[in-house]
């Protein structure tokens, strides 16, 4: 056969490792001293709302103290009902999101059935564990994974650590350099039965607060019209939040802040 591959399983990630190692470069030789020179993504967050789970992220990538990119995308739909938001070293993180989305599709095609949401989160955790040597050299990948669980009919979200540790969160989480500030804001305003609009307003307020306190977080850039990415995972699938809704939410946050009101 022209495809003399020996790999017979259902995982694309393992297929690459077994048959195409040249497509998965080993980053563990990376030197820690150079870490300041590669772009890093900053603040991303996920929270549950009434019909599922929302994932959002700012657009800034920084390399050391400089801006690497103002409009990088850090929230990806990994399949029809799940999303991954990345923080950490942008290159390896974005690549991991790409591999994960091919992985999920590949599994579905080979097996004729999609993975359960738990299975998807578990797979991501294995991929992060594989990246541990590179993470120890400063190229950490610390994503959030969220999706709509079709069997349980609810939105779920997970955070991860660099060792692949996987922790399901019941309400919300934020990660990246401004994650702490974003989390504080969400904590004050989060309600279990928020609708889509309320969740968008809270996410934009949280990213604005993070951008205020953390210089590496982008927030909303009205001057260049660069808006955070906000995605909703619900029973209907993954939906993008339109930019005008994000802008309206941002203007509301601004109005509250200038009037001296609190974040929510």
């Amino acid at each position: 056969m022209i495809w003399r591959g020996n790999y017979q399983g259902s995982s694309f990630f393992e297929l690459l490792q077994a048959e195409h190692p040249q497509l998965m470069p080993d980053l563990s030789a990376w030197s820690e001293h150079a870490t300041g020179s590669v772009p890093h993504g900053t603040t991303v967050l996920a929270m549950r709302y009434e019909s599922g789970v929302m994932v959002a992220g700012d657009r800034l990538a920084t390399a050391g103290h400089s801006v690497a990119s103002r409009d990088v995308v850090k929230v990806f739909a990994t399949d029809s009902h799940s999303c991954m938001a990345i923080s950490g070293a942008a290159g390896p993180s974005i690549e991991m999101a790409r591999v994960l989305s091919v992985e999920l599709e590949h599994y579905e095609k080979i097996e004729g059935q999609a993975l359960e949401l738990d299975g998807k989160a578990n797979k991501l955790s294995q991929m992060i564990r594989q990246n541990l040597p590179a993470a120890m050299q400063g190229l950490a990948v610390v994503p959030l994974f969220a999706g709509f669980d079709i069997r349980r009919r609810n939105g779920r979200l997970w955070k991860f650590d660099i060792t692949g540790g996987r922790y399901e969160e019941a309400e919300f989480d934020a990660t990246g350099s401004g994650g702490l500030y974003a989390r504080e804001t969400i904590k004050q305003g989060w309600r279990p039965a928020m609708d889509q609009g309320a969740a968008t307003r809270l996410a934009v307020a949280a990213l604005t607060a993070a951008a205020d306190e953390d210089r590496a977080t982008g927030g909303v850039d009205l001057e260049r019209r660069i808006f955070p990415i906000v995605k909703f995972c619900s029973a209907e699938g993954v939906d993008d939040c339109p930019e005008q809704d994000i802008e309206a939410a941002y203007r509301e946050t601004l109005a509250r802040r200038t009037a001296g009101g609190s974040a929510e």
């Binding site: 056969m1 495809w3 694309f12 690459l16 195409h20 497509l23 591999v99 004729g112």
Partner: protein, 232 residues
Amino acid sequence: MSMPFYASPEQIMADKAEFARKGIGRGKSIVALEYDGGVLLVAENSTSLSKVGEIYDRIAFAGVGKFSEFDQLRKLGVRFADTKGYSYSREDVGGQALANAYSQAIGEVFTREMKPLEIEIIVAEVGDDRWEDHRKNSLYRVTFDGFISDHSHYCVIGGNVAEVEGELANSYREGLSAADAIKLGRQALSAGSESGSSLDEGALEVCILDRGREGRKFTRLSGEEVKSLLEA
């Protein structure tokens, strides 16, 4: 040392071909049809083991003959396409390259191995409205010996090919709706089937490549969807 009996290459090939044909002819047919919204694949199959599958965004696969053999080929196709799409771009994965790769792989087994593959496959690719040079659908058939052919309008594999093709040649016209295409598919399969005209939604496996969809254009129709189209 004992001398092996001499058999001419012609004889060996003819024997292998006959062996493969026998296996494939015993099975049931699959029809791929172009309709106004893309490509529709109809298989006579009442089991839960699917004969039609998704390969990539615009590409579907259908196989007849020995299930384990064509299912293995389907998986190889998915691996081939996903790897190619990952290392280049999604748009770089095309039906022709895949059909050629299948043709080479199957042909090589036919010449080198004792036992040829007892299968026949269709690689169907739906056109892409975004690109002017890529709007046409493609239907490729690859037979047990690696022989590849490309077809327009419709393509048949397995079972009683001549009867099914004859029915299609009489009744096919361009611009069919999805419902008409399914009905025509059933009518053609019935012509070649032993169970005659009794094919209902439970005996049909129907998948479509819908050019109107974004991204992955492959959909498997449920029993109810097939039924409602057959009754439309």
